[in-house]
Every structure is written in structure tokens, then in C-alpha cells.
Symmetry: C2
Subunit: 209 residues, 2 copies
Amino acid sequence: MDKNVPLVVVRRLPRYYRYLSDLEEMGIERVSSQVLSKKLGFTASQVRQDLNCFGGFGQQGYGYNVKMLRDEISKILGLDKCYKIVIIGAGNLGRAILNYPGFTKRGFRFVGIFDQDESLIGKSVGDLTIKGMDELEVFCEEEKPDIGALAIPKGTTDEVAKKLEALGIKGIWNFSHIEVTSAVPVETVHLSDSLMTLAYRISEEEEEE
Amino acid sequence: MDKNVPLVVVRRLPRYYRYLSDLEEMGIERVSSQVLSKKLGFTASQVRQDLNCFGGFGQQGYGYNVKMLRDEISKILGLDKCYKIVIIGAGNLGRAILNYPGFTKRGFRFVGIFDQDESLIGKSVGDLTIKGMDELEVFCEEEKPDIGALAIPKGTTDEVAKKLEALGIKGIWNFSHIEVTSAVPVETVHLSDSLMTLAYRISEEEEEE
């Protein structure tokens, strides 16, 4: 596998992965770059180029083997491993992330949820009990979580990120609306991006009418 | 403006918009395609190509005027209009969306939140009171919301989408983890995509060590 796969290609892989998983569940064995292109909204040549980055699993005229391609993308994304996630922030957002379906089957496991709000500490969310921030250090030493999910809407994000980093966290999944600077990889979820795209599509439809 | 801007380009625009807004807030007046490229992770030629789709606001050697470009992208995305959003589902996810900061300044306004759970109806979330699903029809006739946000984790999504469509909703913002089929534009939020990208970046860093 080419180590220098551009991040922009990597960011497209989850969409391939999701669609290929759907195809596999439907029992479909092969798929062409044309179909992948149409379903995912990339050009067919981009699809071929993307998949060639990882060695190319397609055969001219036969398309791609769905299961092989899905398994390979899964391996490339690192989904064949297991990741422990700790959530910081037990408000609506933190709880929503914890209850969001579909993470477990991709190898992600929520192991802890923390908040500084005294009134939340000790309460149950799913299978977990909300812990106070002063318990975070001992918890990380024992559980060794891989990923910290920041579900704290404003302020203190950089401080918490630094703390997690010092406690051995390997990556930060940032829901906090503010960019986080960290020595470990950070992926920020921007909910408004999809809403802006939707606004565009709505205004476009209105112009066509 | 070219009406046939590919959706894949449109999906990149919110990222330009966010970054240009940041630059504007910092008082920066001009930006080169190289800087945009580096910050956004697109190639410089892709940046030039993307922005040319909309008429091209750059001057050779001078870069782009931040404010003009931001305003133009805002107009293209339809952010100069106001959109009323109704949320279906008042669980953690629905409440988290309602409380998520930064939507208002982009012209989005939450006007209602609905749930079928009797124990939630009548409770307050932010400035809104949770209403029952049987009130949705009258509400839509009076308020005429533009966007329906689906924050119902499983089942009934297609049914609710059809209902919203019949009540005049122009677009669906789908958080439900399941693809929704509708005659109006649908944008689905896949939280797991960013998590999968993060997993890749973590496993890549580990290989490098």
C-alpha cells in the first residue's frame, strides 16, 4: 500500500466503504466504476484513480469484486482494529454520539463519558456512568482509550485536547465547532457543511421552477 | 452563474466559505490559491478550477479578494436567504442539533421541534416547546418551514420524509443513519465518515513510529 495516499482521497474512502457494505449486504458481488461513480457522485475516472492508489482491484470489463474491495478499504482505513473512544461532554451532543448506531460494527467502542457538571456525574447513559473530569487521568491509565470525542460546545477545547494528548490519546474527534490544535490527528465534524449544501440544492430547485 | 455546477464542487464550497469567513474575521483581505489549497487540502489547480466555475474572482498574482469571494460563495450557496428548520425527533440528537452554535448567523432558524413520545411533549428545549406529531400539519401550514431535520434514529424515516414532503418541505437534512428517498433534496449526515478518516490517520501514525 502506498503510504503517501493524499488525505483528500482518504476522506472519500468512507463513502466507498459504506456503499460497498450496502452492496455486500444485498448480496451483490461485482460493481463497475461507472456504477460507483454514479452512486457516489465522483467521476468514473476519479473512482478508477482513487482505487488505483491502493493497488487496483478492478479487472477491465469485469468491474470490482465488492467483498474484496470492501475488505481492502476496511483494512486501509484501519477498521480491522478496535478503537476505544472516550467522550468528553455528557450533554445532548455527547449522549447523541454515544447512542448513534453503527459504530460498534466498525470496530469502535465507547468506554467512558466525562463531564465537569456535578449534576450529571453518576448518571447513566447507555451502558456507561458519567464520570467527573478529575477521574479522567486514572481512567486513561487503566483503559487506554485511543480516541477522545470532544462534545463540549465552546471554550476549554484546546485545554481538554492537550490534557487528552498528555494522557496518551491517539486522535481527537472534534464536535466542538471550534478548530482544535493538537499534536495528534484531529477530525472536526462540521454539521453546518451539509446544511449549506442543502440550502444550495433548495435554492437551485427554486430557480428551476 | 453556471447552473450546472457539479454537486461534488458544491459540496466543497462550505469549506471555502468557513475558511474565508475566518480570514475575514481576522481582517485578512486577500488570499492566494496556494494558501487556500494548503489550508483546505485541495490542490491549487482544483481551487482555481472550483472558483472558476462561478466566474473567477482571482487576479493573476494578486490572489482572491476574501470578502468578495466569501460573499459570492454565500450567494451561490443560497445563504443570503433565510431558512426555517423544523426538527423531527426531540431526543438527544434533536436537542443537540437545536443547540449547536453557528447556524443562526448563516441564515438558518429553528422554528419547531416535534416528537411522538408523550413524555417529551410540552417540555422546553431552548426557546421552543416540543410538540406532538399530530400538530405537525397545522404547524407547517402556518409556519411554512423550508427544511425538515430528521433526528429519529431508526424506522419511520421514509414515512416522516413523505409526510414532510406532502406538507411543503423543500429539503430534508437527514441524521437518521439510513438513506432517505424523497422527491425533495436530501442531505445525509454520516458521523461515522469522519471517525473512519480519524482511524486511518491514527493507524498511519502508528505505522510511521
